[in-house]
């Protein structure tokens, strides 16, 4: 496919690792892909508040309650950054939310799993944030400026979250037999869904090639998944936990861990809306949005009233 001079120039800038900013020319597909990816990322942050938010009222100590509350608040903040970044490309937050609430937009399907114990909070910080970091660190060098800068802020906070999650797991593994069993049970339930966070296998992944060409994506799904496993195995050993994968073993030749096959049936079912909590997550977001409509309307109405009361001079400020 031949490219126009603009496209050619655009690709050259990408290849030179230059940043693309909001006012720069960009192919329409690039804009669309970025809006889709950034909004999915934003939606993920927002929906991701729910499984963890589920344990705030039951956090077992004041310190943990505080940390968890701050973590979930950070996620709200990440959502804000990312919606704002998407808006630099001409998207509107309202439209993006409307798509989410209508079930038309995706979000990371890891959040469609239930948090069933306090250990899940540790597992999410340790595994899910761990996986998210692997996805996001490369994005700190992604081609689109606002996205890269948002990612820098997100990654800083997320590595803090991951350490806290690991610390929860560590405390449980050093605790009573019941606490250790709780930690192992959480790992058993979150391990495979976390591996699914890296998406389908490379040979089944539609967007990858072009996203990599545009430096929206810097590593393939399988590359990241492998990196994640390699990182996690020693950490699990350190904790004294067993990763629920009988096929897991060190491969001396490749210097990586071989691991079992993801249950792709489960993957596609969850992605397509049939996971354990898909409906609950979406309903919670829709409910919050609808229940809050009168609040948002009131804020607008009040702001308009205020403006109308200003003198013409004041209004010009």
């Amino acid at each position: 496919m031949s490219s126009t001079p603009s496209e050619h120039q655009f690709q050259a800038r990408i290849d030179a690792d230059q940043r693309i900013e909001p006012k720069d020319w960009m192919p329409e597909d690039y804009r669309k892909t970025l809006i889709r990816q950034m909004s999915q990322h934003a939606h993920s942050e927002i929906v991701g508040m729910l499984p963890e938010g589920n344990w705030i009222t039951r956090a077992p100590t004041l310190k943990r309650k505080s940390i968890l509350l701050a973590k979930v608040q950070d996620e709200a903040g990440h959502g804000l950054y990312l919606y704002s970044a998407a808006e630099t490309l001409g998207a509107s937050r309202d439209d993006l939310l409307a798509d989410l609430h209508a079930g038309k937009a995706k979000y990371s399907s890891i959040f469609n799993y239930p948090t069933l114990s306090w250990a899940d909070i540790g597992a999410i910080g340790w595994l899910v944030d761990g996986a998210a970091i692997l996805n996001q660190v490369p994005l700190c060098r992604t081609s689109y400026g606002p996205y890269a800068r948002a990612m820098v802020r997100v990654c800083k906070e997320e590595s803090f979250h991951q350490r806290q999650g690991f610390e929860i797991m560590q405390t449980l593994c050093n605790g009573s037999a019941e606490q250790k069993a709780m930690a192992q049970d959480a790992l058993n339930r979150w391990w495979w869904p976390t591996l699914m966070m890296f998406g389908p296998r490379d040979d089944e992944s539609a967007h990858t090639a072009r996203s990599m060409q545009w430096r929206i994506k810097r590593f393939t799904n399988d590359e990241l998944r492998q990196k994640f496993v390699d990182m996690m195995v020693p950490q699990a050993e350190f904790l004294g936990l067993t990763i629920p994968d009988e096929a897991l073993r060190w491969n001396e030749a490749t210097r990586h861990y071989d691991f079992g096959e993801v249950d792709w049936d489960e993957f596609w079912n969850v992605v397509q809306g049939r996971g354990p909590c898909n409906r609950e997550r979406l309903d919670a977001r829709v409910q919050a949005h609808e229940a809050g409509a009168w609040v948002r309307e009131a804020a607008l109405a009040h702001a308009a009233k205020r403006k109308a009361r200003q003198t013409p001079t004041e209004q010009m400020v």
């Binding site: 927002i46 508040m49 729910l50 938010g53 705030i56 009222t57 039951r58 956090a59 077992p60 100590t61 004041l62 310190k63 943990r64 309650k65 505080s66 509350l69 701050a70 979930v72 608040q73 709200a76 903040g77 959502g79 804000l80 919606y83 306090w118 929860i168 405390t171 449980l172 050093n174 605790g175 009573s176 019941e178 606490q179 919670a284 409910q287 919050a288 229940a291 809050g292 409509a293 009168w294 609040v295 948002r296 309307e297 009131a298 804020a299 109405a301 009040h302 009233k305």
Partner: protein, 259 residues
């Protein structure tokens, strides 16, 4: 109702009073934290969580001080998590359910108006720990008060619906406002000993602020009502039991562990 017998000054312990302050901030923080992920927009989610975190931090300071005063080697968590309903000493207002956003805003407004003015006074109290907590938390309370006052105005002078909702919220929660500035026997005694502010003396300042904000919000100042009381003396509403069932669950189910 039998009245509490006045305790001679040498025996009035600060501990139950510090627990009262701790429980108050804890319960409100807990209620606010229930909004997490369910707010009308991300900005309010973040704001409510900010207030919750501030109050939780304040509560932790009081609990840590209470544990030290108790001198039995117990921790902030032992005190926060292991008492029964009648032993909690928060006023009724802060355990009321979140309701809709208007109810949450009014609850916050009534609390913040009191809390800010109270902490302004508590900063000068003789106890250096309480004074230090009050100074730090007083700065936060100023922000909270601005936030909740602005929202009362925004909702009161917003749309017909928001006006209706916040008027209803005011009507619902006004009976709980008085308890904040009605001293218990313990509070009277401690004030008599010069150790804590006179909360009743805060009333004119509170009323002035209420009037200013409600007027700008185009809301009527609620009429005098029979005040609901008892929380500071351990007589709670039916709501507290359910809060505690969730709050305490892990500590009760796995006693004595580290988390």
């Amino acid at each position: 109702m039998p009245t509490t017998i006045d305790i001679p000054p040498t025996q009035t312990r600060l501990l139950p009073y510090v627990l009262q302050l701790a429980d108050t901030s804890l319960m409100l923080a807990h209620r606010l934290s229930e909004w997490c992920g369910h707010g009308p927009a991300l900005e309010q989610d973040i704001a409510l969580t900010n207030i919750a975190l501030d109050l939780l931090g304040e509560a932790r300071h009081y609990f840590q001080y209470a544990a030290a005063l108790e001198g039995k080697g117990r921790t902030e968590d032992d005190l926060a998590y292991l008492r029964t309903a009648t032993e909690y000493r928060n006023p009724l207002l802060v355990e009321q359910p979140n309701g809709d956003f208007a109810v949450t805003v009014v609850r916050q407004f009534l609390f913040d108006t009191f809390h800010y003015h109270f902490l302004q006074q508590l900063q000068h109290c003789a106890d250096p720990t309480l004074a230090a907590i009050a100074e730090k938390s007083g700065k936060e309370a100023a922000y909270h008060l601005r936030w909740s006052s602005e929202w009362v105005i925004r909702l009161g002078d917003g749309t017909d619906e928001s006006h209706r909702r916040i008027a209803r919220a005011l009507d619902l929660l006004w009976p709980y406002a008085d308890e904040l500035t009605t001293p218990t026997a313990l509070e009277r005694q401690l004030h008599h000993e010069g150790r804590i502010p006179d909360v009743q003396a805060l009333r004119p300042a509170l009323r002035a602020h209420h009037e200013r904000v409600l007027t700008e919000a185009t809301l009527p100042l609620p009429q005098e009502v029979w005040p609901q009381q008892g929380g500071k003396e351990g007589r709670h509403s039916e709501h507290l039991g359910y809060i505690l069932a969730e709050l305490q669950y892990l500590q009760r189910t796995y006693p004595g562990l580290t988390w």
